[in-house]
Amino acid sequence: MSRAPQPHVVTANALIEGDVVYLTAAEGWTRDLKQAQAFTDKDEAEAALARAAKRSAEVVGCYLAEVRLTAQGIEPTHFREDFRRRGPSNYAHGKQAAA
């Protein structure tokens, strides 16, 4: 049985700050994963990624990250993405400081 296609978000690091950003439905950038647009259609995700990757004055290193859609909103499926959306575990720096 093949696995149902997983939703993805477009993510990158901001050019100036270097922190983690996600693409929104309005094709802006957000620092909050829950505000990101989740693509369930693979072609749409790839197309959005291609457009985002051209915005090199804003971001660096765009890629698609797999997510889950839950009652609480978008959640990462991999622990690396969980750390990226939160910040390091030894200090409340990065996104945790802003929260």
């Binding site: 270097g18 983690v20 290193g61 750390f83 390091p88 575990s89 030894n90």
Partner: protein, 554 residues
């Protein structure tokens, strides 16, 4: 220590001016990220998981108080108020903004520091023995040679695009505190017929394919140092593989071609280029550098205050017994300041701590500070009489942990809390091991032990040469930690042996405890260290302690 001349200062000013313009061109869109990336890496600027990271070169781990104060100022002004000491004696800032980096580099240049060649496929910061010029077991201070190599390798036009990065370590002692056998080139000072020279070790390295270095030349006269190094790196530059990044380090070149072939090629190249070197000029430069590394005028003072504190204060005594090493001059000691308070991040130093250490170095330590690859800070020359005052001041800033060389003095790479390459976290594992054994009050009973943790196979945490090595991996989307035992980074260098299947994040601390309880049961006496017991017993009993319970339950 080395003092910049006009040439050095002008070089750095020009280089920083260039990078400032490169950053501006990246931001205004004239440079793409692909064009900019190699330029920023040449200047030590990485883009990591949550932010940029600036890696500052600390040549052979030596700093003066003003340099450390400048690092504190940079940490406060442009970062999060701390710096991280790396396993190659450098300092990393984890939170700079791209637009601030040119100003940070200018600030570093004010005190003769920079971030050049702390990344990229170049000759990296030359590392050395953190006890250099202080240890009683030393032939000579290795740092003037390290400085000579630094000058030769900085911006060397032939070696800016090597097949892969290239790391050199130099030690002046038989006791290897610089892990020379796990470097691309390790230089160990030796004496032959009264003359000083080097044993040249090549092709060591950890990472994906760990190798212990092999002797390329058993005695290299000092006068031949630069042409010989140029011959080695030049040979590697041509022979090293560029088709596969994982086979591009010189250890693979040596492994695939054989040490004899590499030796023949190096000797041939050496014969060819040596006449082009002006040996007299090099030796004059070396003599000038050595003049800058002259030992201080050591004060002769009574050690009665030290004896009194050692007798009366158990906290001071515990610290003195673990964190001091014998100094070559009577009445002095080498102080290791632990950056491993139980539960703290290994190698992190706040700006307040930096300023205190700078003040102590100035007041009591002849102005000398070292960073160790074991992620601690060293005051290499302190009079015994001053130790109670030094200890008291350190205690006030959380820097007096008496654990050097013990279970909680852990090397840990930044791991997935910071590093974009990591496959698992390292820091919290180190924090939990330290607090766990502190709570059990077993640390001093266990005795000398080196635990080293890497968060991926690149092995920045030197796990292969840890007495206990821990390697964090991503196994099907879950953090998993493999254990190796019996590694050794000293002059008796050895690679650790893998115990078997790895452990989940919440199982790794109990697994380490099982190993260490087995050691306590199996050792012949308190004098037999973990490593000695492992060498006597082999992997068997430790494997049984690790996995036996699971097997019996199954």
């Amino acid at each position: 220590m080395y003092v910049y001349d006009d040439f050095d200062t002008a070089f750095l000013t020009e280089r920083n001016r260039q990078f400032r313009e490169q950053v501006a061109r990246r931001i205004d869109g004239s440079l793409t990220e692909e064009e900019f990336r190699p330029l920023r890496l040449m200047n030590g600027l990485y883009l990591q998981l949550h932010a940029y990271m600036l890696r500052v070169a600390v040549p052979y781990g030596t700093l003066n108080p003003n340099q450390l104060r400048k690092l504190a100022e940079i940490a406060d002004r442009w970062d999060e108020g701390y710096g991280h000491v790396t396993t190659r004696q450098n300092v990393q800032f984890n939170w700079p903004k791209l637009t601030d980096v040119p100003d940070m580099l200018d600030a570093l240049a004010e005190v003769g520091l920079h971030a050049i060649q702390t990344s990229g496929n170049t000759i990296r910061n030359v590392t050395s023995d953190h006890f250099a010029a202080a240890a009683a077991d030393e032939i000579a201070d290795p740092r003037p040679y390290a400085e000579l190599i630094r000058q030769w390798s900085t911006d060397h036009p032939e070696f800016q695009f090597l097949p892969r990065k290239f790391k050199v370590a130099v030690t002046g002692s038989e006791i290897d505190r610089a892990v020379t056998k796990a470097h691309d080139i390790g230089l160990r000072m030796v004496r032959k017929d009264g003359a000083e020279g080097f044993e040249v070790i090549v092709g060591g390295g950890l990472g994906r394919t760990p190798m212990i270095g092999k002797v390329l030349r058993d005695f290299l006269p000092v006068a031949d140092l630069l042409p010989y190094l140029e011959a080695v790196v030049g040979t590697y530059n041509l022979l090293g593989r560029r088709d596969n990044k994982y086979k591009a380090r010189i250890k693979i070149t040596v492994h695939e071609n054989g040490i004899e072939t590499v030796r023949d090629l190096v000797e041939a190249r050496f014969a060819e280029i040596a006449p082009q070197f002006d040996t007299a000029a090099t030796l004059a430069t070396l003599a000038r550098i050595q003049g800058m590394f002259r030992a201080p005028e050591f004060r002769q003072v009574s050690d009665l205050a030290y004896q009194a504190a050692h007798g009366a204060d158990p906290v001071f005594r515990a610290w003195a017994d673990t964190n001091l090493h014998a100094h070559k001059v009577e009445g002095h000691a080498i102080v290791t300041i632990s950056l491993k308070a139980h539960g703290a991040t290994p190698g992190d130093m706040t700006s307040d701590q930096m300023r205190l250490i700078a003040d102590l170095a100035e007041r009591y330590g002849y102005g000398e500070i070292r960073l160790s690859h074991e992620q601690n800070v060293i005051l290499p020359h302190v009079a015994l009489a001053d130790l109670p005052a030094v200890h008291k001041a350190l205690k006030g800033r959380g820097l007096a942990t008496a654990n050097v060389g013990l279970v909680s003095d852990i090397i840990a790479c930044p791991g997935m809390d910071y590093c974009a390459l990591a496959t698992a976290r390292s820091i919290p594992i180190a924090q939990e091991i330290a607090t766990h054994f502190d709570a059990l009050k077993l640390e001093h009973d266990i005795g000398p032990l080196k635990i080293k943790i890497s968060g991926c196979i690149n092995a920045c945490g030197h796990h292969h040469v840890g007495h206990i090595g821990i390697l964090g991996l991503d196994r099907a989307g879950v953090e998993n930690y493999q254990i190796t035992l019996g590694g050794d980074g000293s002059e008796d260098a050895a690679l650790g042996e893998r115990t078997g299947p790895g452990f989940a994040y919440d199982q790794i601390v109990p697994a380490i405890e099982r190993i260490l309880r087995a050691y306590l049961d199996l050792r012949t006496s308190r004098e037999e260290t973990f490593l000695q017991a492992y060498r006597r017993l082999g992997l068997g009993p430790f494997k049984e302690a690790l996995y036996g319970a699971e097997r019996h339950a199954a």
